[in-house]
Symmetry: C2
Subunit: 234 residues, 2 copies
């Protein structure tokens, strides 16, 4: 075993443990059960830009982010890319191929050095049968993601780009709390893709919001929210 292999191994085992213990869908179980689960999951690491899966893949594993972040995106018929969501530690993806035996429709790409845990369909099904409470957790996660996604679709169809950008910024605030300064977790390009517009328009709209005294641009990725109310009721 080479030196590289050893360090790989060490990383894996650490992430392994970290993974399971922090995952919302498992964290109601006791230590013994955790141990059992740890034996069924596989840890993997990806470098920035590497794909975890791509549209058309059939791999039937559930992928849970342990460290880092994943970009989930789609390509439209016309080749344009839309950012669907960003997965942070504790969140998972791959449910479509796993529960429906169909191919992936999305692409999952590591945004930075990212480690994940993967569990195969067979193992998961065994776990679900044995510990039905895990199903409930997954149902919770899926139904709230469904709701978010439907809300996003509704926003696309009923609200202007300006409103979508504004409520995106306001949403960042509630998560950060305390300070009125939010940090954009995405490049402007990804942000544009996420809210369904172009980088140029994002740039212009941010400028407009600033002129309206609703926000203040501090640095390229830091924005101070001056008036959350007005931001939401544009």
């Amino acid at each position: 075993m080479t030196k590289k292999d050893q360090s790989e191994k060490r990383v894996c085992s650490v992430s392994h443990r970290g993974c399971v213990s922090m995952v919302p869908i498992f964290n109601h179980l006791d230590t013994l059960q955790m141990e059992e689960i740890m034996e069924t999951v596989q840890a993997h690491s990806f470098k920035r830009g590497e794909l975890i899966y791509r549209a058309g893949d059939t791999s039937d594993v559930l992928t849970i982010v342990n460290k880092g972040s994943l970009r989930i995106y789609r390509l439209s018929e016309s080749g344009k890319e839309q950012l669907v969501r960003v997965l942070k530690p504790g969140e998972f993806t791959g449910e479509l191929a796993l529960f429906n035996e169909t191919v992936h429709e999305n692409y999952a790409e590591a945004m930075e050095a990212t480690s994940v845990c993967q569990i195969t369909r067979a193992s998961l099904q065994k776990l679900l049968i044995k510990y039905p409470s895990i199903s409930l957790k997954i149902l919770q996660a899926l139904s709230s993601r469904l709701d978010e996604s439907e809300q996003q679709a509704a926003q696309f169809s009923t609200e202007s780009t300006e409103q979508r950008l504004a409520s995106y910024l306001a949403d960042l605030l509630v998560e950060d709390d305390q300070s009125a300064i939010v940090t954009l977790p995405l490049t402007k390009k990804d942000l544009a893709s996420y809210i369904g517009t172009t980088p140029e328009t994002v740039s212009r709209k941010l400028k407009e919001l600033e002129e309206m005294q609703l926000i203040r641009r501090i640095s390229s990725s830091k924005i101070e929210i001056l008036d959350e109310e007005k931001l939401l009721f544009l």
Copy 2:
């Protein structure tokens, strides 16, 4: 008991049985288990225009359509309405409030005389624990709905109104199969809301597609698809 009550009763009991037996999430169970489930669900009927639930409600039941159809829609901040989906017999809604103990974000309205079966959180949880395979069915349904919703969001953000309308029409085709004549299941108004545009634009775009020889309007709700290929690759 009045005559009206009796007929109500009869309708309920029929729909009751019909409901459970045709629901995809239950239909892998045997007759005995079906009987058990039937005792835990409640049948209800709604007239056209009645609301099953509204945004802000906390009711914690899963609602499964038995006969008829439900419009699920949202209201944006600005009061505009977006049609999220139409539920046909066998499909369900209410999962958000049920699994997450939050309030409904959507409205569910009967589009015609509609009968549904409802199962409470408590009953469903018991069933899920007792028959874990039901969870798998629900997970399947939710993950594929999630996928549809994400696809819809992606289409909103990357494709033109014309393309969205075209692929909506093409999608109708695969379901009907055989004949190239599709029947619009929605009013133009609802269709517009569903694909995120206005009735005026739908009308104009249909005209354009007809001029391009891609479709032919037969009656107000019947359309012949002349060139599915071109329709998809607009």
